[in-house]
Subunit: 217 residues, 2 copies
DNA sequence: CATAAAACAGGCAGTAATGCTGGTTTTATT
DNA sequence: AATAAAACCAGCATTACTGCCTGTTTTATG
């Protein structure tokens, strides 16, 4: 439960303790820029992520921004790293926090619930915008797809570490993992049209199906 | 199986037999413009749907385009109607075509398979782009959300008509319907990262779960 | 303390998209 | 055939975004 795989992928924006003050200051503004970019993404989608907006939100001049991120796409690439990392970290923090003194039979339900919570955060909203935009933007896909596959492997590694009870049934675990991730994404997108009641019914259904995958060998 | 509800919602673009030739010509160019707009949507996402691109693809001048669709958003609104209608029509055509001589127990599997096929068409790709863009675009959402809710009701009506066998279990049917739609959407978005093999496993899983909803009362 | 380098600021040209306007051709009406 | 209306065309002004460029301040180094 050490999140070893994930820890190795921490992006430069979230560095722990930089040596020089100047580097620290630089890292701080970079982080602020990336954070503002995520806000833009959440509020205006991928087309709403403009350098002007980011500069205006952070108070950083466009010139300074050009120093940290020469082109708009450099900023987008940094956002991608940040979003993948944070999305996974927030899920793991939530899941591991609620794990104390849990029965083995509850683990799947706890993980499913934690994932549904994680899906409602702004990091996931930004991730979704990027994922959809990458479908129709070759340049973006060139950075997004490799990152997605990288984190998919990390995610599986973490799951194997967190679910030692199903050591001999990793294939089943992977299928359940894929299923929950895809289903929650779809539910999130359908939520505005079906409303809260049917959304809740669907999440319950997903949890039930995920459980059934483990219950039946 | 008459698609009565759906037939009542056919957009003006797809009118059957207009009276005057001029109106027919007008409807034809309108349809061409909407069709080109869908191509833009599929290839470049919502930001790629520009009036210039549409005019260039169709060969229609921007001035003529302004005559049919005074503003860009008028075109988008027409696209929304078209996409909702076509997405549902293509699914129903496919499903009803494969229905001849089918066992009652196969219906759920047939419907699920037909829906997964429909999800891979360009109409659905356009729908997805609009759905995601509407999340961060209030003006777009103002047209998209009502249309989505309208077609959600039509969809349910058609399902009730197509599945008379579960007359007394409409709630179960609705839940299965919601589940398959959401799950397929999520699978489609996850497909580029998980690959074809895991995608196929997921669709099989969805079909199995949908079936189980009916099998167990 | 002097000098280099890093971080920051503001502004300018190029590009592309939108909405609109004046003018032209084609079709319908009487 | 004459007139009105619908469909079509080309171009202009505005807006907004990107990329880059020249300076200025702050921090590190010898």
């Amino acid at each position: 439960m050490q999140k070893r795989m994930l820890a190795a992928m921490r992006p430069a924006d979230l560095a722990a303790q930089p040596a020089r003050w100047q580097q620290q200051k630089s890292a701080r503004t970079r982080a602020r820029l990336v954070d503002a970019a995520i806000d833009c993404l959440v509020e205006g989608g991928y087309p709403g992520l403009t350098t002007q907006q980011v500069a205006e939100r952070t108070g950083v001049s466009r010139g300074a921004m050009h120093h940290h991120f020469p082109t708009r796409f450099d900023l987008v690439a940094a956002v991608i790293e940040h979003v993948f990392y944070q999305r996974m970290r927030l899920f793991l923090d939530d899941y591991l926090a609620g794990l104390a003194g849990a029965e083995e039979s509850e683990l799947v339900a706890l993980a499913t619930a934690a994932h549904w919570r994680s899906v409602q955060g702004r990091e996931y909203a930004a991730y979704l915008e990027l994922a959809v935009a990458a479908r129709t933007n070759a340049e973006l896909d060139g950075v997004f797809a490799p990152a997605a596959r990288r984190y998919d492997e990390v995610w599986i590694s973490e799951m194997i570490e967190s679910f030692p009870y199903w050591r001999e049934r990793w294939e089943t675990m992977k299928r359940a993992h894929d299923f929950v991730i895809a289903a929650h994404m779809g539910i999130l997108l359908q939520r505005p049209v079906v409303g809260e009641e049917r959304t809740a019914q669907m999440t319950d259904l997903i949890a039930h199906f995920a459980q059934s995958l483990y219950a039946i060998p």
